[in-house]
């Protein structure tokens, strides 16, 4: 039968809906049909009527409609109470974004009624004098506790409201997939999306339906469901996941083969066995998957966080792999994960284990260099070596072995063990030739030996020095091969030629090389660097080939202070206008008509703080340096009485004495001093000797060129005497940040000193020798040490002041002697200062 239905609102003539309903009519039927009104039925009377006709193909046309039934009235208003205002629908649940119609009905059409949604007034359509409807389009979710809509009757304090419960939209489950770890359980997971729960209304539920088996389960969790695999017979699965809440449902399906959805469990029992220096065996286990499944496992070897090896291993249950090409004494991590070998779906979780390979003997010989010097006439060899890199050390270096073999007189091997912390050692030999083997040892054994040969015969040391100019890249050094039998060359220099130790450096070069660029981050402009090029013979002996010297960049100030001394007999030179508390460097070099001689090492001098010199003078100064920065070399007649009993070096109150010489102790950290020796020139290792500044006031009848200031070396050797000449080399204040600026002119300083000096000059006890003795009456021929004891002191107009000192034997060290018969040297253990 086909039924046609009409619905009218408020009056029968106002038909608002017509529809058909077709159904099979059986005997004694009670048919049900429903219609949902957008407008709440409470707000208006509705009417319904219907008619019918046969709707069966077996019955031939024409088929006629029956008469309309009478109108049936649905009037919910009659059941309402006597309240002046009603609002509908009550507690309606809708999905966010849907359209909702609400209405109010007033008992008194004179009432002025206004309605609000969450505080905002809304305006509706008046259906009749008492009823208004509001169509809310695409309602929003505001809060779980609902959206309040209320109306009030003005002037009557009547308020009525409803709560609209707006639910979040039920989403289709996302990322729905199923997999198994053991062929016994399928685990299906998905992203449920937004929670649609409201107070008193639970969130959406999920049902899993499998079409091949026809089974269905209600999922316990919002985002996963476990499905029991009954037997091996079912290979294909077609799952439909249905999400459902009070307002509707959403579903999603997936079709797959069980064997294509294998997600193995994380491997376990990962162990490292037989770990040697270069190899290790990794073993692990996996949870078996079915009877015939094979797993493909990926073994990663990581070093410092990076994958450096990757291996694929097919296994059933037990995995094993031999890792090779490992570095000794290195930490690695082995990491394993597995997947189904036949149908890759997903990797399992990973298991990892750290391990450290065993040590192996160092793989490379040390880079060794030597320096030969003479101590008390015996050649002393200082060996230097560079620590092995981690790559070559293959473990912790425990010590170094130095084996010495006399090549001239076979007498067995002499073995020295040097602690791992040292990077050199010193050997005292004789004039014979020696072959020296140096090896580094770790727990696994020694490195290959590094072999050098040294001899008491220095070979040709009379090599003329040449200038070399620095560039941005460093010093470009070249040389001419000499013997033609060289197995290599070594270029040697000091990174800090003005410091002690001077930080000896060397560079090995192959036999077919005749030039190289020496670069170092330590190179500074204005500093003179000396380079020595050695040829290494087939016997592994080093012969000096060439010497080079030069500046990375010559500073302007070095040129501005050159003084020409035309008198070859002149042995002193007065430097004027020096700044107090400034560092100067000086050197003296001879010249002939053909040009000047080679530039030798500079000697550094620091002028004293003026404050001490002019304490009673007009130059006052608030800055008072600590006592340990400046030390007075005492002269006994200048000492206060209380100090005479102990004439040793002491720290004194500046007001207690009259200074005539000041030793400036302040110098760069690590500077060290050498004394003794008879070498004619100084090498870089002595560049920073503390120099003494002697201030000698001019006597009233002095007719010389002016106050005489000489820079004196510490010892009575020729080099010291030479350096007594007064070339000067001021260092820029920028280079000495710790030095305060100049205070006054040197003339004033000297005048201030003059008075004190003259009072005490006559009391000098000549010939007294003590530690740090400073004589004001040294010989004019002080450059000649042999003449010193024989010449009685005589006052001279411009005396040169010498220091007499006793030097502890253990601290004595010959100065490196470029012009001596032995190679230059850098002592390893030098005293900080004389005492």
């Amino acid at each position: 039968m086909l039924f046609q239905i009409q619905i009218s609102r408020m009056k029968t003539s106002n038909v608002i809906w017509v529809g058909n309903y077709s159904t099979v009519v059986k005997r004694d039927p009670v048919l049900h049909w429903s219609w949902k009104s957008e407008l709440p039925l409470e707000c208006a009377t509705h009417f319904v009527r219907m008619r019918s006709r046969v709707d069966d193909a077996k019955i031939p046309e024409p088929r006629f409609w029956s008469n309309w039934s009478s109108w049936k009235e649905a009037d919910a208003q009659k059941s309402l109470g006597r309240d002046p205002l009603f609002l509908f629908p009550k507690d309606k649940l809708v999905e966010e974004g849907s359209n909702v119609t609400i209405c109010y009905m007033s008992r008194n059409q004179q009432d002025n009624i206004s309605c609000y949604l969450e505080g905002q007034q809304i305006h509706g359509e008046q259906l009749d004098s008492n009823v208004s409807a509001f169509k809310l389009n695409k309602v929003s979710f505001i809060r779980k506790t609902g959206t309040n809509i209320f109306c009030k009757v003005d002037q009557k304090d009547v308020i009525k409201g409803i709560v609209l419960f707006v639910s979040k939209v039920l989403e289709e489950p996302k990322d729905f997939s199923c997999e198994t770890q053991d062929f016994k359980t399928l685990t299906c997971t998905w992203d449920p999306g937004t929670d649609t729960s409201l107070p008193k209304r639970s969130s959406q539920s999920y049902t899993l339906f499998e079409s091949f088996s026809g089974k269905k389960i209600l999922c316990e969790h919002k985002n996963s469901c476990n499905w029991q695999v009954d037997s091996d017979s079912q290979e294909m699965y077609n799952f439909t996941l249905v999400a459902e809440n009070a307002l509707g449902n959403r579903s999603v399906s997936v079709l797959f083969s069980l064997t294509h959805r294998v997600h193995p469990k994380t491997p376990y029992n990962l162990f490292l066995k037989n770990v040697s220096g270069t190899k290790a065996t990794v073993t692990w286990k996996v949870h078996p998957i079915g009877n015939y499944s094979t797993l493909l496992c990926q073994l990663d070897l990581l070093g410092e966080g990076n994958v450096i090896q990757q291996h694929n291993v097919s296994i059933k249950e037990n995995g094993e792999y031999l890792l090779s090409e490992l570095e000794p004494d290195t930490e690695y991590m082995a990491r394993v994960r597995c997947a189904d070998a036949n149908h890759f779906w997903k990797w399992s979780g990973s298991i990892s284990q750290k391990f450290i390979t065993a040590e192996a003997a160092p793989s490379e010989a040390l880079d060794v260099w030597r320096n030969v010097k003479s101590v008390s006439g015996r050649p002393t060899v200082t060996l230097f070596w560079k620590p092995l890199s981690k790559l070559h050390a293959n473990g912790k270096i425990l010590s170094y072995n130095v084996t010495v073999e006399n090549l001239d007189r076979p007498s067995g091997l002499e073995v020295h063990s040097v602690p791992a912390t040292a990077n050199g050692t010193e050997l005292t030999l004789d004039q014979d030739s020696y072959q020296i083997h140096v090896t580094a040892l770790n727990s696994a054994g020694p490195s290959p030996a590094s072999v050098i040969v040294v001899s008491g015969d220095p070979g040709n040391e009379e090599v003329e020095e040449e200038r070399v100019n620095g560039t941005e890249d460093g010093f470009s050094v070249s040389w001419k091969p000499q013997s033609g039998k060289a197995i290599g060359y070594v270029v040697e220099w000091c990174d800090h030629p003005q410091d002690l130790p001077c930080d000896l450096q060397w560079k090995n070069l192959s036999s077919n090389t005749t030039s190289t660029v020496i670069s170092s981050g330590a190179f500074r402009p204005g500093v003179r660097y000396n380079f020595r090029i050695y040829e290494i013979s087939t016997e592994r002996m080093a012969y000096l080939l060439e010497k080079k010297a030069g500046y990375l960049k010559e500073l302007d100030k070095s040129a501005c202070c050159q003084h020409r001394i035309d008198n070859p007999e002149q042995k002193t030179f007065v430097m004027e206008n020096l700044q107090p508390e400034s560092v100067y460097e000086f050197l003296v070099t001879p010249y002939t008509s053909a040009g000047s001689g080679p530039l030798d090492a500079f000697t550094k001098v620091t002028t004293p703080d003026e404050y001490y010199l002019v304490e009673k003078g007009p130059y006052t100064h608030t800055h008072h340096p600590p006592h340990d920065r400046l030390r007075f070399a005492h002269h006994d007649h200048l000492l206060p009485k209380k100090s005479v009993e102990n004439p040793h070096l002491t720290i004194m109150n500046v007001s207690d004495c009259v200074p005539d010489a000041i030793e400036v102790i302040h110098k760069p950290e690590g500077s060290k001093i050498q004394f003794l020796g008879a070498s004619k020139s100084l090498t870089e290792t002595e560049f920073t000797k503390p120099a003494y500044l002697y201030l000698l006031p001019a006597e009233k009848n002095y007719s010389g060129p002016g106050p005489c200031i000489c820079f004196e070396n510490l010892t009575y050797n020729e080099a010291a005497a030479d350096s007594g000449s007064c070339g000067h080399f001021p260092v820029t204040p920028e280079a000495l940040p710790g030095q305060p600026g100049p205070l006054t002119s040197p003339e004033n300083l000297l005048k201030a000193l003059e008075k004190n000096y003259m009072n005490s000059l006559g009391e000098t006890a000549a010939g007294e020798a003590s530690l740090n003795y400073v004589s004001q009456l040294a010989s004019q021929m002080s450059g000649d040490k042999d003449s010193l004891p024989a010449n009685p002191p005589e006052p001279v107009l411009c005396s040169e002041y010498k220091m007499q000192m006793a030097i502890p034997l253990g601290l004595a060290s010959p100065p490196p002697a470029e012009n001596s018969g032995l190679s230059s040297t850098t002592p390893l253990d030098q005293s900080e200062h004389y005492r």
């Binding site: 609002l87 009550k90 505080g119 779980k144 506790t145 609902g146 309040n148 209320f150 709560v163």
Partner: protein, 203 residues
């Protein structure tokens, strides 16, 4: 923890001590009831604000007030001064007792409503529970005073009757507002009544 402690403190205030040596005098009981009424007064404002904020507009709008909303199941606290002043002890205490009996039941109802409407607001639910416990405490204290003064103690009645069930969410929100508002009014009146008794029965 602090919540449990608050309840413990509340109970010590609400429940008359049972096992002390000498029975409490009427004045002591009056004082205890009076102190409870004062503490109820202190908490009233917070409870009302918490409640209104949880209901949404218009309840949460600033200055919200709807005096026209009434519940027939709750006796009005308003009374003319003349009538109030003329009340005898028994009548005065009976009215307070009747009001707090009704309030206790209504606060239980409001608590249930809000458990449905605002299940995720534990502060509101706790404050409603505390209010109900205080109302119960006041009921017990007034009964103890009546007993101490030798006044007849009327039997408790079911004041709610058939009223509440089937109410819409908005109606329940309104109902809760009325109950809490009236709870405040009756607390104010109880303070006044008990102050009168304190003056009349000094310790």
């Amino acid at each position: 923890m602090s919540c449990q402690l608050a309840i413990l403190c509340l109970l010590t205030l609400l429940l008359p001590p049972l096992s002390r040596g000498a029975p409490m005098s009427p004045a002591e009981r009056i004082t205890q009831a009076y102190n409870l009424a004062l503490s109820m007064q202190e908490n009233m404002s917070t409870l009302l604000q918490t409640y209104l904020q949880a209901q949404g507009s218009p309840f949460s709008d600033p200055g919200f007030s709807a005096p026209e909303l009434q519940l027939s199941s709750l006796p009005p606290a308003d009374i003319s001064f003349k009538t109030w002043n003329a009340l005898d002890d028994g009548e005065r205490l009976s009215r307070v007792q009747g009001a707090f009996l009704a309030l206790t039941q209504h606060l239980q109802l409001v608590g249930d409503d809000q458990r449905d409407l605002n299940p995720d607001n534990p502060i509101l639910l706790a404050q409603l529970r505390d209010a109900r416990l205080r109302a119960q405490g006041m009921l017990g204290n007034v009964a103890a005073i009546m007993t101490a003064l030798g006044l007849p103690n009327p039997r408790a009645e079911d004041t709610l009757g058939l009223v509440p069930f089937g109410a819409s969410a908005f109606e329940r929100k309104c109902r809760g507002y009325i109950v809490i508002r009236e709870y405040g009014h009756w607390t104010d009146r109880a303070v006044r009544d008990l102050a009168l008794f304190k003056a009349k029965y000094p310790s």
